[in-house]
Symmetry: C2
Subunit: 322 residues, 2 copies
């Protein structure tokens, strides 16, 4: 794979974030010329410490894609743009919908406008979410499932996927969308509880705090290690098909199973309690995504076991504290 | 109907525009306390002259709903908000997508946030477009047709309809969506060719310029007089059902038929020419919308004949010139 990426001009928006930083590091390893674009405001951006190891090898631009800036020429000159920038918290999108609109729709439209002015336009790889399908009618979910976003963030992700279609159709901007589920691994954002249940579990476990499961913990999820997601993103860059493509596990993991493996690696206390009303209303229930379509075109499949993946995540987290 | 509206506190956003001004005038006639909100910038706003007759009876606020302002308290205090403000040109949305985003999505989210802070929240009546369905799979189109927006404006109208669903579900903001098609009548915007084919035809006919039909003129459309649309909006305000509801004619009208009636009222020259490539790519083909669902709930049906409607439109236009 090294030769394929060697010398390629690649942009990773949101490249200080969890998945973005893992992707940027991998691209540098593969020999790509990497530009990371992330917000200047450190409260909203990912963490600079995520990319310490590649700061000498990659270019870093601290700009906001929702306003004009030097980022536009970076996009225009790139061969591949991984657009991972965005507001990802579902609950934050319900509290501050206009912020979510600006960060998810406004920024992507600006990126697409910059891409459209370049010939040939860069290939855009976009990370959407399995959440666009809402509560599953049947499992596993595949890409023919009705689109029914359960919150403002989901509505904006649907709009984003549609923008990509319009820019493919009318402006010759090639793109591929991956719909992600729960992702964990080194550089996971442990600061912000809005980022998802895995983040909360890992953060509390590391602090020695008891973990709360809503309901009986039998809710099933696709839980993917970030290395497997990064591999999918790399494959998507050279895929001549727009998707969207769902990423999931062959067999989904219950939150209980996740905690059982976590408990093998460090002592944790688990408490079960009823679902809080405000979360239940936007909970999606059981979920399992069928990746057959993406796998058939690319050969992708998740490789990292939960035990390996959690071990490396905890090792990373401990190294951060010391 | 008079008693139903008498004294009611009603906001019409986009109330200087074509449909908005007709609605505001009707509401004043019915005894409502009307606040019109429209943009301060006269190039983007509707026309102040549209509401000359009610300026002493209605309140007028020239503010931009995409930024904070006094408008928010008007929304919160209203019993009914007719949200007609927005960018309506499909081609402009393709040229300036971020403007379309701000005017169509940003403004509505702000209106909904203001509505949500009020108890009880005002009823929102929203005007979407038949365009959200894209090219028809079969005719007539009804509300079960797959949603497939053909341009950026359509994507934003879909997002807007989805916002309303989320605010009904989580924030108790009641709303009803009407999906409009081609509307004509007094106060139609004759300045801007992006506003639709009927506007262009009427404007050119009044100037004595030849009219161009793309193709053979047999393209069929629902062509509704604004009085019938206003009546539908009034009915939607008191309807306890979210829709969306399509508005259409019992039998659609071909552009050729439209021009034939126009030719009875003033001398026009019609030229046929092939479809320009840039327009063909976003043309929706034949269209006919089934209003059965809305009619069954409200008794609505279009009343104004094309001949009556065009005659009153031309009379209005001539009065503007003199």
């Amino acid at each position: 794979m090294s030769s394929r990426w060697s010398g390629r001009n690649v942009v990773v928006t949101g490249g200080l974030g969890f998945i973005g930083s893992n992707l940027a590091i991998r691209l540098v390893e593969l020999g790509a010329r990497v530009t990371i674009i992330d917000l200047p405001d450190s409260a909203s951006a990912g963490s600079l410490s995520n990319v310490t190891s590649i700061l000498s090898a990659a270019r870093l631009l601290r700009e906001d894609l929702s306003t004009p800036g030097d980022w536009a020429s970076c996009i225009a000159e790139a061969q591949v743009v991984f657009h991972l920038a965005g507001q990802v918290s579902h609950s934050a999108s319900m509290q501050q919908p206009v912020d979510d609109l600006r960060q998810n729709c406004g920024s992507l439209l600006n990126v697409l406008e910059a891409a459209r002015r370049s010939t040939p336009a860069p290939k855009i790889v976009f990370t959407s979410t399995r959440q666009v399908y809402g509560r599953a009618e049947s499992l596993p979910i595949n890409e023919t499932h009705p689109v029914r976003p359960p919150d403002i963030n989901g509505i904006h992700k649907v709009a984003a996927e549609e923008y990509l279609r319009i820019y493919r159709q009318f402006h010759d901007v090639p793109s591929t969308t991956l719909q992600l589920t729960n992702t964990y691994g080194p550089r996971i954002d442990l600061r912000n509880p809005g980022r998802g249940v895995l983040n909360v579990f890992i953060a509390r476990a590391l602090r020695g705090e008891p973990l709360e499961i809503f309901g009986d913990g039998q809710q099933r999820r696709d839980i993917l290690h970030v290395d497997d997601v990064v591999e999918a993103l790399l494959l998507a860059a050279d895929l001549d098909a727009p998707g969207p493509f769902l990423l999931g596990e062959a067999r989904p993991t219950s939150l209980r199973e996740f905690l059982d493996v976590l408990a093998e690696l460090l002592p944790i206390e688990v408490r079960c309690r009823p679902f809080p009303a405000d979360l239940q209303s936007i909970d999606i229930g059981d979920s399992h995504c069928d990746s057959t379509r993406f796998a058939a075109l690319t050969g992708w499949s998740p490789k990292v076991t939960l035990r390996e993946g959690l071990a490396s995540t905890l090792q990373w987290a401990r190294s951060q504290r010391s």
